[in-house]
Amino acid sequence: MTDRGAICVFSENREVVLELLAAGRPLADQAQANLVSIVLEKRASTPTESHVIVEEQIALGADGVLIVEDVPDRAGAAFEVAALQHVVNLHEPHMLLMGGTAHGTEVLAQLAQRLQVGCATDCTNLEFRNGILEIERTVFGRFTCRQTFRTRPALASVRPRRFAPPERCGERHGGVERVRVEAPVDPVRVVERRERVASGERIDRAACIVAVGRGLRSAQDLPMIEALAQALDGTVGATRPLTNDLEWLPIDAKVGLSGTTVRPKLYIACGISGQIEHIVGMRESEVVVAINTDSAAPIMAEADYRVIGDLYEVVPALTRALRELRP
């Protein structure tokens, strides 16, 4: 199963793993290699839980599952780096593809340096051309750069939600292999860990997002934005200054680099100039509307529909117009 030259995928996030299988399947086909999903099996997990995960991975495109077993329940990044290094040394995959979460990127970059190999984070496209792996990623905010690897294995990541999870296919079969890795001493002690409690609808699942930026003059004007979101059956998102500096909105409304990457059908950017840290979080949206007084604002380059105007006039007018469309 895990012959040399496999395409391996790994993410600590179970939803992201599915996206990686979608991204990795065509690569494995192009390279005529096996697609192998690496799974960390916690000590406390039951055989049933593991069985469900293995079955899911194979049904969704994996040719095999490599289980790192007996993982300490508190294992963190240090363990993942060690485990992945062990697996890479053992199986010499052609490529390891990981999820570009904050945690995943930290693990991947450390692994890459340990292996002394190159690594391409947040790839937007990956393909083999004449047997050579080529990736695309975004640089300088809006340019696409093509890169190839000089070193092996090729380490890469894709941003969460760049790829849709694959369709389930019940007829697939695959092997399971188990390895054990000695847990390293983790010099980082976790004092406290708090899962984020969603304050509303999860923004990364919303079909429509009405996002607001510094064009909003006061927190008291938020109901105007909420009304538009409501008229569209959508959710309110925001840029970093509004969630962090001004704290007008909860942190899980933040779209962008340090917040959530979203991929709604409709994204309406109100009074958002389009700083790069925001753009990378919303650029996968299907249809983008930008409402801004500044026609030269970078957000305009990301918009399917540009409205040059004051959000204080356009947003309420749009809310009214949408309500009028409804019977």
Binding site: P187, N244, V307, A321
Partner: protein, 270 residues
């Protein structure tokens, strides 16, 4: 490590100001030679945090940067005016070809040369590439721990407590020095240096180091050290239709937009 005079090191990048980067209409390549450089914004936050540590605990702040050519003097002065005590520029003409692997190797060697610091602060990514690799890579190269996405950093007797903000959770973690910390924009608001600080900055030392000072062979291009080769950089063909909806009052524009969204099936009539 003497607690009396802790040393804090910041790794900074001079990168093209992406907001001012234009596209060559013929080749669709970025006109890098025309775009002014700036200090990568995330690194300004890293420096600000280092200076705050110095203000709270005493000690020194040093800035390291890998550069292809001497950066504009005003940018170096800004680093010093913000509170750095010394700027060490590792000058290597092929630096533009260095990927994160090569950059981390060189910065790690420079950090070893500096010696005896407590914490290395990095921006979590750079404004030009935003690969988010160099901080964790330095940690791996030096076999020390790394804390990424730090939103608050506290020091007590050579040990650090950090708040981290990740997509799905927040964490408080503790770690002994030496370590690498990478920060985003959440951690602080970088200061604007006063005129007096800017004037004082020119009194502080800026040093140029070269690869041979770090024990590396001199005659290799950093392209050879890199694991990644960039073959092309182009502005993508417009992915967005970019239709302007204008003409008339806000109500007319809004009416037009509403009809477009409806026609596209983006408005559910429930």
């Amino acid at each position: 490590m003497s607690d009396a005079a802790p040393r804090f090191v910041v790794c900074a990048k001079f990168a093209p100001d992406t907001a001012q980067l234009r596209v060559d209409p013929q080749t669709r390549a970025p006109r890098l030679e025309e775009a002014p450089l700036r200090i990568s914004t995330f690194d300004e936050h890293a420096l600000e945090e280092a200076v705050r540590l110095k203000e709270a605990h005493g000690g020194r702040v040093e800035v390291l940067s890998l550069v292809a050519a001497p950066p504009p003097e005003e940018l170096v002065l800004k680093l010093l005016a913000m509170g750095a005590d010394r700027v060490c520029l590792i000058e290597e003409p092929t630096a533009h070809a260095a990927d994160s692997l090569a950059t981390a190797r060189i910065l790690s060697a420079a950090l070893a040369k500096l010696g005896d610091w407590e914490v290395v602060l990095c921006g979590e990514g750079s404004i030009d590439s935003y690969a988010r690799q160099v901080g964790p890579r330095i940690a791996a190269e030096l076999s020390i721990p790394v804390l990424t996405h730090v939103t608050q950093l506290d020091r007590e007797a050579g040990s650090f407590t950090a708040h981290r903000g990740l997509e799905d959770r927040t964490e408080v973690v503790a770690c002994a020095a030496p370590l690498v910390v990478s920060v985003g924009q959440e951690i602080n608001q970088p200061r604007f240096p006063t005129v007096l600080q800017i004037l004082g900055a020119s009194q502080k030392p800026t040093e140029f180091w070269h690869l041979e000072d770090l024990g590396f062979p001199v005659d290799t291009s950093l392209e050879v050290w890199s694991g990644i080769v960039t073959t092309e950089v182009r502005a993508p063909e417009a992915r967005r239709s970019g239709l302007s909806i204008d003409g008339g009052s806000a109500a007319e524009v809004a009416g037009q937009l509403a009809r477009v969204l409806f026609a596209k099936g983006l408005v559910k009539l429930v």
